[in-house]
């Protein structure tokens, strides 16, 4: 009897927990298609960072950028993100909610790790980007 009750409790716990903690994983296109029905629900949004859209504020550590897929652009706002971890054009996954003002507010930002090796397409060399650093003497 006690055992059955315990099995039941674990099942209830699991079922309840699942339905509360399901997070939809969408692309910008899917997000736009779903429109208002998913506003303020927890979502994971995965896409690419639009070139030249990264806007980072050093003082407030606010980060804004545009995530895109095809023609669909979704503005994303995030606080406490790691802007040095990503650059134009890379794949990124953000977790947060989509508000009715059309901005995705991210609480968590994950850089998508590419599984396959692909040679760099645009010749943006790290050495150019961080040229000034190379002139400074390492500690």
């Amino acid at each position: 009897m006690g055992l059955v009750a315990m099995a039941g409790a674990i099942t209830l716990l699991a079922a309840g927990g699942l339905s509360e903690n399901m997070v939809f994983f969408l692309t910008p296109t899917e997000l736009e298609a779903k429109g208002t029905e998913i506003i303020d629900q927890p979502i994971r949004l995965g896409g690419q960072v639009k070139p030249a859209s990264i806007d980072w504020n050093d003082n407030t550590t606010d980060l804004r950028f545009i995530m895109f897929e095809g023609d669909v652009d979704i503005p994303v706002e995030s606080t406490g993100a790691a802007p040095a971890m990503f650059r134009d054009g890379i794949g990124v996954v953000v977790e947060g909610t989509y508000s009715d003002d059309g901005v995705f507010r991210a609480t968590n930002l994950m850089v998508k790790h590419s599984n396959e090796y692909a040679p760099p397409e645009h010749s943006e060399d790290v050495r150019d980007t961080y040229k000034s650093l190379l002139d400074s003497s390492p500690k």
């Binding site: 399901m22 050093d58 790790h113 961080y130």
Partner: protein, 718 residues
């Protein structure tokens, strides 16, 4: 050249696995003693290990000499990668890790064969033939080949993968001049050389108990010796798996930069699931060892654990789940699924076929007994397995059925893990203090007076000292409860030894470990678990985090730490470009020294990956964890840093080491050869396995006898 040699040795191992299976099943299932086939099985196991060792060494040589004509080297090697990471890139991608996996599997097969090499006593040999005392079957010519045969069967699958779809020795022509190097995440921390091998030794090690399960089912003989031997292998594999999981958490903490060790990532879960079922088995096996009950249950746990290791490999290797660990994709998925289905169906069929022999008339006498505690522990562990499995697989099911992509976040897992984990923690204080069969109210009063008192006092003290959070208070109280029980158990054991053998305190303690390592080693493991539970609870509840952009000389204050920005810098290394920032750190105003969190951009894939290296300053009370978030690229005047203070997290690793030490005590060999020979003889004679004077657990039995009431007789159910 290397490719041919490597591929040749894989083929040789495949043939060896075939012989292990064929000769092993033949020797094990025939109704007579076939010494030739049994010996051949063992030799095939040795040869398989030799062949796989050659294969692995060939791959290491190819990696270290940068022979890019070997396909795997062309995929994960590069001239720029440091030698250490080149050597360990054996397991940085699919094919190499299956090669490594296969080598370990072959190693387990050979080790098992080796431990069973001299089991035929001179008196069993009559005129060149092996004959048991009663003219019947000799167990060592039956069980041993069967277990090796099952290992060989599993080997056929893995070596087959290596010979076919996951061949690491393919030839690239013309050979490229350089390769991309291993996945950046996997060449960023030295722990990568330790954590995956530990996990693999654990995962693959589960094959041996599984082989015991299948061999036992085929023979229809799942008795005392079977459970003891298989448990021993299970403890070893379990210990490796434990170290692998803790090591994985440590790696994740040191590399991933979010300041935690465990995120319920599907691949983390994949390593945790077989650990849960293996832990359940280690407890339920004692019930079977004692009264013969739970045979089917134990078999299911052994088989289930093996299946979960395959599932773990499937999740990691098939790229089915998008996670930081799923570093590779391939065609291996369906093959794994098929293999798992065959194992599951085959095992179920065997259990059904043997169901009449698996039934034991024993039953639980009282709900207040150690048996009941173990059964409750098993239900909790299996329930835990079920909920974690559900959360891990649910997104896959939903995607397969509805096409929606969802994820189940850490809140779900934390929500189910907290109550189940606490219940398990509590049971750890109950089970060991209860006697087998039935506890009297006197016994309960005597055993639980101090543990309960200390648990309650701890809770009240915590409250008075200002602790208001429920979960850590409960954890703390339970921890005090469990630790008191364990101390009591040791005290009783030591007292008994001192009286019995007139030993010093330390001598008596060593006696407990050497005479009854399973039990007292197990208690040490429990201490490790308690330490980990406390570390988790404390570090989660009081973790604090701050993020600020600092200019030179500016300070960030967090808890009792201060972090002062000095400068940013960059270094070019052969395989990567490193951006770092130097900070002076202080605790309570006193300087601690410099810390340099870094960002690494690997040349392998500069447009994609930036891997952080957080700076971690550990102490027994708390860690200061610094992650470099951004730097001022133009003028190098400021840097953004995230500082995390993690109280007590170091105790996660310390607890893990305590668990490892406990497991080592539990499996440390203790003059077993005589016992084994004698027990074989007894089994061969058709007698029951009861050797109180030689049994390694005899001290436990006498002690339990003292505490078993009311009848004070030991019942042996066979």
């Amino acid at each position: 050249m290397l490719s041919a040699l490597g591929y040749g040795s894989v083929l040789a191992a495949l043939i060896a696995a075939g012989i292990m299976a064929l000769a092993g099943y033949h020797a094990g299932l025939a109704r007579r003693n076939i010494e030739f086939a049994a010996t051949l099985t063992r030799r095939a196991a040795y040869f398989g290990f030799f062949a796989m060792t050659v294969g692995m060494l060939v791959m290491e040589i190819a990696l270290l000499t940068h022979d890019f004509s070997v396909e795997y080297v062309a995929r994960v090697g590069s001239h720029e990668t440091p030698t250490y990471y080149t050597a360990i890139s054996l397991w940085s991608s699919l094919d190499g890790s299956i090669l490594f996996w296969g080598w370990i599997l072959a190693g387990y097969g050979a080790l098992f064969a080796f431990t069973r090499r001299s089991e035929i006593d001179a008196h069993q040999r009559v005129g060149g033939r092996v004959v048991a005392a009663d003219g019947g079957l000799v167990p060592s010519l039956k069980t041993t080949p069967l277990v090796i045969a099952v290992i060989g069967t599993v080997g056929l699958f893995f070596f087959g993968l290596l010979a076919g779809p996951a061949n690491p020795f393919g030839i690239v022509s013309p050979a490229p001049l350089n390769g991309p190097g291993p996945n950046p995440l996997l060449q960023n921390h030295p722990l990568m050389g330790l954590h995956p091998p530990m996990l693999y030794f654990g995962f693959v090690g589960m094959t041996v108990p599984f082989a015991f399960a299948i061999a036992g089912l085929l023979q229809g003989n799942i008795e005392a010796r079977w459970i003891r031997d298989s448990r021993r292998w299970m403890v070893a594999a379990w210990a490796f798996l434990t170290m692998g999981i803790i090591g994985g958490g440590w790696w994740s903490y040191e590399v991933l930069g979010w300041g935690g060790a465990w995120a319920w990532d599907p691949v983390e879960n994949a390593s945790f699931l077989p650990w849960l079922t293996a832990t359940a088995f280690l407890h339920s096996a004692m019930v079977q060892k004692r009264g013969g009950m739970l045979k089917t249950w134990n078999l299911s746990l052994m088989i289930g654990t093996f299946l979960l290791t395959l599932l773990g490999t499937f999740l990691t290797r098939s790229g089915v789940i998008d996670s930081v660990h799923a570093f590779t994709e391939g065609v291996i998925g369906p093959l794994f699924l098929g293999f798992m289905a065959i194992i599951a169906l085959g095992s179920l069929t065997l259990i059904g076929w043997r169901s009449n022999r698996l039934y034991t008339a024993g039953q639980i006498e009282s709900p207040v007994s150690r048996e009941s505690a173990f059964i409750l522990n098993n239900l909790l562990l299996v329930g835990f397995t079920f909920t974690v499995l559900l959360g891990t697989m649910f997104p896959l099911l939903i995607e397969a059925i509805r096409g929606d992509r969802i994820s189940v976040g850490p809140p779900y897992f934390n929500m189910v893990a907290s109550p189940i984990g606490l219940a398990l923690l509590f049971l750890m204080g109950i089970g060991p203090a209860l006697p087998w069969r039935r506890a009297t109210s006197d016994h309960i009063k005597k055993s639980f007076r101090w543990p309960i008192l200390l648990g309650v006092v701890t809770a009240i003290a915590a409250f008075l000292l200002g602790m208001r959070q429920l979960l850590p208070t409960i954890t703390l109280a339970f921890a005090a409860f469990v630790l008191t029980t364990i101390v009591q158990e040791f005290a009783m054991g030591i007292k008994a030894r001192r009286k019995l053998a007139n030993r010093s305190f330390v001598g008596a303690l060593l006696d407990l470990f050497s005479r009854n390592g399973h039990r007292y080693g197990g208690y040490i493991v429990h201490v490790g678990v308690v330490v980990i539970a406390l570390a988790i609870s404390v570090s989660w509840t009081w973790k604090t985090e701050r993020q600020e952009t600092l200019r030179a000389g500016e300070r960030l204050a967090i808890e009792d730490y201060e972090v002062e920005f000095v400068e940013v810098w960059g270094i070019e290394e052969p395989q990567r470009f490193v951006i770092g920032a130097t900070f002076e750190t202080f605790r309570n105003g006193k300087p601690l020294g410099q810390e340099q969190p870094r960002l690494n951009i690997y040349h392998r894939d500069p447009s994609q990956q930036t891997i952080g290296t957080p700076a971690v300053r550990s102490s027994l009370s708390s860690d200061l964890y610094l992650t470099l978030m951004a730097i001022d690229q133009d003028n190098l005047e400021h840097a953004t840093v995230r500082a995390i203070v993690n109280p007590g997290i170091v105790w996660l690793w310390i607890g893990g080491m305590i668990m490892g030490i406990g497991a080592l005590i539990a499996i440390w060999p203790r003059g077993k050869i005589r016992v084994r020979a004698a027990s074989d003889q007894l089994l061969a004679d058709g007698g029951t396995y009861q050797l109180p004077s030689l049994d390694i657990d005899s001290s436990a039995k006498t002690e339990n006898l003292e505490r078993t009431s009311p009848s004070k007789t030991e019942k042996s159910i066979e």
